[in-house]
């Protein structure tokens, strides 16, 4: 088994990309003080919308567009409920995750008359960047990927720098840091929370589209399978520093890609499925071992 070859790097990146998009969504929500755990359901809806639109139009990019727009609309529930009306974002998210699970299964039955999974012959996936094949290194890593994979990395850097170095980014961070102080400076706190939550929905649309039209070309019931929760954990892990997200998500991607390889040599799928969760929780614990001492110090100071 050759683990450290470029095809493995490509596999890691592929597995990590949906989580990257979703974790960026979670990170910007966290920056404005919205605890967004609706990522899982929004990603699932995005995956379904992408497949449905690609199937009807024959154009996978129409699928991406449909996923991004409709998931942003889907996020309205959380945006209106949590940002405008100050309802509990956790309860709304639990409800909307269940809703997404139900409605995607329901629509699959009603629209396509199938249950479980939908992969008709006419379904077109996103094109791979074949033209990169001749470039050394980059070709091996990105040649078999969709354009959404580099987009995720670029978006994280752009958003991270935007948060750090622009006035709007500063205000946005202020909203999460201390809403009352931000409001006293004339910043429209609910407005920032509202639009960031909508933008997070759009990012989850990208995550879903990459999952169902990029990683594979099929929609299966509950196909996100906990990736939204891994993204929430990644957000906690980087604790408000979005530029670190790729590292956290690539860790998950590595666990999943390694799992596939281990299955190839006979490891049972049940155990490799558990690996990303186990690693996530262990890493969360390891990075937080110091924290109790630090809070104690700040209490006495």
């Amino acid at each position: 088994m050759h683990v450290f070859e470029l095809s493995f790097v490509a596999a890691v990146l592929l597995a990590a990309t949906p989580v990257l998009f979703a974790s960026l969504a979670g990170a910007i929500s966290a920056q404005v003080g919205v605890f967004n755990i609706a990522l899982e359901g929004q990603m699932l809806w995005g995956a379904f919308a992408a497949v449905a639109a690609s199937y009807y139009t024959g154009n996978p990019w129409a699928g991406v567009l449909a996923a991004v727009v409709s998931t942003a609309v889907f996020a309205l529930v959380l945006a209106v409920g949590a940002a405008r009306w100050k309802a509990d974002p956790i309860v709304i998210a639990i409800g909307s995750n269940l809703f997404a699970l139900g409605i995607t299964g329901f629509l699959m039955g009603v629209l396509f008359d199938v249950s479980g999974s939908f992969s008709p012959r006419g379904l077109v996936g996103l094109p791979k960047m074949q033209w990169l094949h001749d470039v050394p290194v980059l070709g091996a890593v990105f040649g078999g990927q969709t354009a959404l994979v580099p987009l995720a990395l670029v978006l994280i850097v752009v958003v991270g720098l935007w948060l750090l170095f622009t006035p709007h980014g500063l205000r946005l961070r202020g909203v999460g840091e201390h809403p009352e102080a931000a409001a006293s400076l004339g910043i429209n706190v609910p407005g920032y929370q509202f639009w960031v939550t909508i933008a997070a929905g759009a990012l989850c649309g990208f995550a879903g589209a990459q999952l169902s039209l990029g990683n594979v070309t099929v929609f299966t019931e509950n196909m996100t399978a906990g990736r939204g929760w891994i993204a929430v954990a990644a957000v906690m892990l980087v604790a408000g520093r979005p530029l670190w997200l790729p590292l956290a998500c690539l860790g998950f991607g590595a666990a999943e890609a390694l799992g596939f390889r281990l299955q190839g040599v006979g490891a049972p799928q049940q155990l490799t499925d558990a690996a990303p969760y186990l690693i996530t929780i262990l890493v969360l614990v390891l990075t937080r071992i110091r924290i109790p001492r630090r809070t104690k110090a700040s209490l006495t100071a």
Partner: protein, 361 residues
């Protein structure tokens, strides 16, 4: 304008309407009504007939021939509602019910699979083992929260798939029936099955166990210091800590109890017909989230759980019948559960608007 409104408010009939609108049952009932309406719109938009669909749900769930089965499901959903309600009382979410459920099933299967245990011992020992294993697993989330700052809602969700995967692996490769097409254990011996009530084939003593657990939670919640501490911490964690409640220990106890109840429910399902631990069978009905929805609808109040559980039992059992006879996919049950939960979350808005109206303004 405000004058006429004020005088209308003073009218006795208006005061009656006002008092009725403030009744605690209004919000849950409204949530259910909104969910049923939205569900109807979705069914109609799909080109199907909502009235036929809902009639099929009711007919399927309340069919006298299968009422025995419906009752058993009600027991499971009540149990899983308890799993959600215990930590909810102190403001925490246990979303790892699936993992705790299968661990309970595993423990019960391991005990029940031992031949030679006397019937009077096998079932209680199996339930106890399930409670200990799943309770311990649930309790893991408390130190993860208090010592490492990982919220209980996140750690339960991340731990659950690990337990599910391990149990699935064990059933498939280690303790399963050799040569069977489905990953499942062998049928448990006669003496290690849940005690029957009369000649009912689904409802058994397990239902009484769940009812006992609900009564116990109601007593603890309303009559003991621990129940009071739970509710104080749920209302205001820092006030609770200031008042001397050891929040960490309370969370540990609540999560252990919650996990233990889930384990007992898993054990009851496993020791009931068809008397095997079958891979995936504990999870596919979605008891965990039906229970959570029932607990949220009850506002975590123990006495209301049996009532709200009825609704989700009807949806769960009737959903399958609806799919058969009205051709509406059974996933509609999940859609309705989701809508009920979202509407309940938005209730705070109605509450605050209402209090703003009648308050000092």
């Amino acid at each position: 304008m405000s004058d006429s409104r004020a005088s209308w408010r003073a009218h006795p009939a208006a005061r009656l309407v006002d008092a009725a609108a403030r009744h605690p049952a209004v919000v849950p009932l409204a949530a259910v009504a909104v969910a049923v309406l939205i569900g109807g719109v979705i069914i109609a938009a799909a080109g199907l007939d909502p009235v036929t669909a809902y009639a099929a749900v009711l007919a399927g769930a309340l069919d006298p021939d299968t009422l025995d089965y419906t009752f058993s499901v009600w027991g499971f959903i009540c149990g899983m509602a308890l799993v959600a309600a215990i930590p909810l009382r102190m403001g925490e979410f246990n979303l790892g019910g699936n993992g705790q459920l299968v661990l309970g099933g595993l423990a019960a299967a391991l005990v029940a699979g031992q031949s030679g245990l006397p019937p009077l011992v096998a079932v209680p020992v199996a339930l106890l083992a399930a409670a200990v294993l799943a309770g311990g697993f649930g309790a893991l989330s408390a130190p993860l929260s208090t010592r490492f700052g990982i919220p209980i809602i996140i750690s339960t969700l991340l731990l659950s798939p690990i337990a599910v995967a391990v149990v699935s692996y064990l059933v498939r490769f280690r303790i399963g029936e050799a040569g069977a097409a489905v990953a499942q254990t062998e049928r448990f011996p006669e003496g290690a099955r849940m005690w029957a009530i009369g000649d009912l084939s689904y409802t058994n003593v397990g239902l009484l166990v769940v009812i006992g657990l609900m009564v116990a939670f109601w007593l603890v919640d309303s009559r003991t210091a621990v129940g009071f501490e739970l509710r104080v911490v749920g209302a205001n964690r820092r006030f609770g800590a200031y008042g001397g409640v050891r929040v960490g220990r309370l969370a540990f106890g609540a999560m252990a109890a919650s996990g233990a109840v889930a384990g007992v429910v898993g054990a009851i399902i496993t020791l009931s017909s068809p008397y095997r631990l079958i891979d995936g069978a504990l999870l596919s009905p979605g008891y965990t989230f039906a229970g959570l929805a029932a607990a949220l609808l009850a506002g975590g109040r123990p006495a209301l759980i049996p009532v709200t559980a009825i609704l989700f039992t009807v949806l769960q059992v009737g959903g399958a019948a609806m799919e058969r006879s009205a051709d509406v996919p059974r996933q509609l049950s999940d859609v309705l559960q989701g809508v009920v939960i979202v509407v309940l979350a938005l209730r705070t808005v109605i509450d605050s608007r209402r209090s703003g109206e009648s308050g000092a303004r």
